[in-house]
Amino acid sequence: MVKKDKAFLIIDNIVLILVALFCILPFVLLFSSSFSNEQAILHEGYSLLPRHFDLTAYKYVLNGSNGIIRAYGYSAAVTLIGTVLSLVITTLYAYPVSRKDLRGRSVFSFLLFFSILFNGGLIPTYMMWTGTFHIKNTFAAYIVPTLLMNGFYVIMARNFFAQNIPSAILESAKMDGAGEFKILWSIVVPMSKPILATLTLFISLNYWNDWQNGLYYVTKDNMYTIQVLLNRMLLDTLYMQQGLAKNMAGSIGASMPTSTLKMAIAVLGALPVMIIFPFVSKYLTGGIVVGAVKG
């Protein structure tokens, strides 16, 4: 039995390592081409080790006039504030819906679920937030539209509460005269650290990586986040691929990103996450229960 176990563990590890390589190797290609000389890539092709080590691409992106430092700052602030607000509104919705004694519970669940499948699309959402709430070119533009409450995450939280918080505990707290808000804050939240940690990770990744809100709701370049800044450069490349570049060619000072530049942009966008990620990963395990409510 022990011997068999050992053999299994070795195979297990080999499989997991192969999958890990499958995930990581393309990243090596990304990194090394971002440090390569553009000419070398055009002439000799992409490779796993940088060809003719060259920092031109980084020098171009990090050039002070691009405001990249400020953009990193905006990104950090958006991610921080957005994640906190989103966690609050998600928990506030998920907790009542997880309670079996809430009347109209199925309606509230359905409203949530329906919003995952149907959406009005960009334009009507935009009309709502800019026309009625005037959030264009404000900080809220990054936080509020689309990202603030994700139906799927609410369902995840609802299921966790329903499965892991015994109703007996809630009952006894009520006997002691605790209000619902107090129960939520001092009993439910402490017992739900795993799911909250997981949601924190997913939500913060969404905020960090978001560029669509920035693209449509923020038109002032001194308010760009890092992803908006980088994606605008990438979009220009796509634009050229669609054969619309004649206009750009006729302009003075329109930037046309090269392949190494694109890779450098990608690295700069993902790097901070890769650095912070290992520190939060230990909270990841055990947080997610997406299944239905039991019992």
Binding site: V107, T132, R232, L235, Q241, N247, A249, S251, A254
Partner: protein, 523 residues
């Protein structure tokens, strides 16, 4: 329970939507009437406040204050937009008591951003049009206003400069919806070469008349520089067909020869013999290595491939100053060989200015547009920025300018898009274009052979579904065929059948009908 809740929600939502919808429509119409009245008053009572005006013009400096929001293509930083807007406002304030606000959006996002703003009723007074914001679609969807009355009342400077024919080219059903820019109004087609390589081959290229004539040159280049692509695509595109096609606006159905005044048959380019021949030739070239491999999915711009010495030549539209433009973008010496002579058609007027339906006071917008069109100071500010900070003179006498020492478009936050603003021909000249560029352009516009269908505007409303279907077919085949990646023999019959099923005939018939009517009325 559920039903009832949804019902309430829906009702709430509908009222909200209705309010939003009505609000925007009302605004513009009331604005119209009130300001028209004010304007009359202004002329009489407050004339004394204004500065000296040219004789015959009404003094408009006493109008109520108003801000005209200009939206334009290309990158402009927040700071640069504000600074330049303030400088323009100084001029417009004195004349019209109007200030100016400028928003610029990157090329890639411009159309999306503008469409979103228009859909949500955001105020835009003057909108720079590009080919993706086409006049027929903007007009038929009610995104922009008809300009006839406004031009008559506040756009005299524009009217005196644009020919009737050109105004017709930007009209739908006899109403003018856009004011075309003053710039080169035609095009030629040709190839741009790396001069150093071209000269080193020692071949004679003076007799190149068609694309096929390039073959010996390309072969010689392939032999001498085996690692260089003889022809490169531009980020996957090789859409220059080296045929003088009149596109008859957009969508499908073209006149194959803009120089032949007797040919008025609308045909589908993509199933024509001429196109087959071109694809076949390019496919042969592809097989012989004369066109870069994977040309249709290449992600590098031809400028970057030429500049890095990886490519020998690439297709290009031609016009005065085209060599300077390529040299600016590649950083190497280039030679342009022209294959199709200069000609002009309706689709060449592909940059224009609109007054969107969200303008609160359209006649104030028109006053500013007129100023942008006729006042060199305003044109220079919008195109280049402020003297001293954004540019400096290299040759003041001839109005030739360049970036100040150490500055670049990145540090200044202003992309120079002379073609995009109403009248580049009255502005200064960029140093790389040379002092004669605008004279050359004016001469070019005179020399361009006008297609007989110039001025014809295609209205696609009745065949939108067919156009969507045919566009799908086109997307499936065009890029591969254009670049020689796909052998036309393998797909030709199926492609033809698919076009037919998608309703190409209906489009061609409709276009032919419209064209015939137009020809009968205008020739």
């Amino acid at each position: 329970m559920l039903k009832k809740q949804l019902g309430i929600l829906l009702a709430a939502a509908m009222t909200a939507g209705m309010l939003a919808g009505c609000g925007s429509a009302d605004n513009s119409s009331t604005a119209d009437t009130t300001t028209a009245a004010e304007e009359e008053n202004a002329g009489n009572t407050e004339a004394s406040e204004g500065l000296a005006e040219e004789s015959g013009e009404t003094d408009l400096s006493g109008q109520d204050p108003y801000t005209v929001r200009i939206v334009a293509d290309g990158f402009g930083s927040e700071e640069a937009c504000a600074e330049i807007a303030a400088a323009v406002s100084e001029i417009t304030q004195k004349k019209f008591n109007t200030t100016v606000e400028i928003s610029r959006y990157d090329f890639a996002t411009y159309v999306d951003q503008v469409q979103t703003e228009l859909a949500s009723g955001e105020k835009i007074d003057l909108l720079g049009g590009v080919s993706d914001l086409s006049i027929p679609s903007a007009a038929s969807q009610g995104q922009v206003l008809a300009l006839d009355d406004l031009l008559a009342s506040d756009g005299q400077g524009i009217l005196s400069d644009i020919s009737k024919e050109d105004l017709a080219s930007t009209s739908i059903d006899g109403k003018v919806y856009a004011v075309r820019n003053n710039k080169e109004l035609g095009l030629g087609l040709g190839y741009v070469f790396n001069t150093e390589m071209l000269e080193s081959l020692g071949v004679d290229y003076s007799n190149v008349k068609t694309e096929a004539d390039l073959e010996p040159i390309l072969k010689a280049a392939k032999e001498k520089y085996p690692d260089v692509y003889p022809i490169a695509s531009d980020s996957g595109n090789m859409n220059e067909y080296m045929i003088p096609i009149d596109w008859l606006g957009r969508d499908f159905g073209v006149l194959m020869n803009a120089f032949d005044d007797n040919d008025t048959e609308v045909v589908n380019l993509y199933t024509s013999d001429e196109y087959y021949e071109l694809c076949k030739r390019r496919h042969e070239w592809q097989k012989e290595g004369l066109i870069m491999p994977d040309a249709s999915i290449n992600t590098e711009s031809s400028a970057s491939l030429l500049g890095s010495g990886k490519a020998f030549c690439a297709a290009t539209e031609t016009k005065p100053g085209i060599e300077a433009q390529w040299e600016r973008n590649t950083g190497i010496d280039v030679t342009v060989i022209n294959i199709v002579d200069y000609y002009t058609m309706t689709s060449c007027l592909n940059n224009y200015w609109y007054i969107p339906y969200t303008s609160e006071q359209p006649e104030r917008a028109m006053q500013v547009l007129n100023e942008m069109y006729t006042n060199p100071d305003v044109a220079n500010l919008l195109i280049y920025g402020i003297e001293g900070k954004y540019y400096e003179f290299t040759d003041k006498e001839n109005g030739v300018i360049q970036y100040p020492e150490g500055a670049s478009s990145d540090s200044l936050g202003w992309t120079i898009t002379a073609w995009h603003f109403p009248n580049e021909l009255i502005a200064y000249k960029w140093v790389t274009d040379g002092k004669d560029i605008w004279d050359e352009t004016i001469q070019f516009n005179k020399d361009c052979h006008p297609s007989q269908a110039k001025g014809f505007v295609w209205d696609s409303t009745d065949v939108t579904n067919e156009i969507v279907a045919c566009t799908t077919v086109m997307n499936k085949y065009r890029a591969g065929l254009n670049s020689g990646d796909v052998d036309p023999d393998t797909v030709w019959d199926q492609m033809k059948a698919e076009y037919e099923e998608a309703g190409i005939d209906k489009i061609l018939t409709e276009k032919q009908k419209q064209l015939d009517e137009w020809l009968a009325a205008n020739k």
